[in-house]
Amino acid sequence: MLPVRGLIRAVKQNPNSLKYLQLNLLRHGSYFTSKPVGDPSKYTDYEITQNPEEWKYVERLFVKPRIPTPKPKDSYPSGWTPQTVDPEKCTWFVHRNKAHMMPVYLDISERGMRRLTKIKKVDGDIWAFYKELKPWLEMVNRGKILGIKVNEVQQEILIHGDHVNQCRRFLLDRGF
């Protein structure tokens, strides 16, 4: 066994003995984290430029702090459209999310066996929305009875099964 206790006792009695124990511990860092060595004048020379024309190329690389609001256009080839409905005339309203997309999502759980369609951000009378959505969805699905849950507190509606595209069509037709 090593005489650890004896060493501790010796150091406690005579702290000067520590300097004989100390080793030159070097941390070999990377080139980029190392300190500059020697005189800075020995480094390569450079010029400092402040050209607004060149700076434009730098500025375009930065991420925008906010998602921009889409400007109105003549046509939207991708199928995306802005909301056209007047919120004051509606009993219920489905907001867009912060990326200006429709808040209709597919929840897959139980290793892919359970699929739920979730419509979020439903404002106003959520029950009126439910009464309008349910017959339309069942008509589209050829009379199939669908399990629909209304979560009034979370302002969302859960539909059993994958009906994301149908719900998006339903909302799009009504201008949401």
Partner: protein, 295 residues
Amino acid sequence: MGLKPKMGDLTVQMLRALPRIGLYNLKPILGMPKLSKRGRGQHGGDKHGCGNKGSGQRQNIMRPGYETGNQPFYLLFGNEPYYYRHHLRRQYPPLSLLQLQTLIDTDRIDVDRPIDLAAICATGVYRFFPNIKHFGINLTDEGIDNFKAKVNIEVQWTSEPVIAAIERNGGTITTAYYDPHSLFILKDPLKFFERGEAIPRRMIPPQDAIMFYTDAKNRGYLADPEKISWERFVLAQKYGYTLPKLEEDPDYEMLTERKDPRQIFYGLEPGWVINHHEKVILKPKDNELREYYQQ
């Protein structure tokens, strides 16, 4: 060390100075039970756990997988090495034309400028991780019929119909290779500028990718521009559309803007240091250094 050192400091200091643990100073813990040894003699040592007869007693143990004459399990099925050299393969996460058109419709991407990997990463909707061998965008043909934008786009991989869809609308497309170091820089340029390093040179493609990026049919960035303009015409004939004339386009300069094969960012040369805090660019003066960066 003016003050008297604390007990914890002493221990750490001493531990640093003490020799490492090795075989020469290891000893069993005091009070460990002693293991019984292999018995000898008439009744002390019978078979010693090796049993009677066979390969167990004779210690001629069979090789792993050998099933005493049966066709071994590991030879029953052929080898299908799906993951062979997976750590060297390049991955190109897909971006569909529909996604690109949606990004343009919702003003997430500016069409008035050339679109490259940095512009698409800056939107925040493209999942791209260079550390798991992602090498850039694969522009796929989903939503090809609804693609109407006129763009100058630079991607890393694409297919012939996609090239046709972009050139039909009067746009241009280039496929360009970036080495992993440049990809990390393109993913988050601000993070790179904060490190205060000079913009490095972009490396040339590896051996198995150089044919793709020198081919005019793929609109490779190392291909001959004259051959590319010929292939543009050939593709228009093949897919049956009239090629819009680039020379007469009002956005001619934007549509024909290309990076140098050594360049990572548009308009910024390798060797420059970007100080985004003071909004200045530091450029090296040394001729040898400038030559190195432009080689």
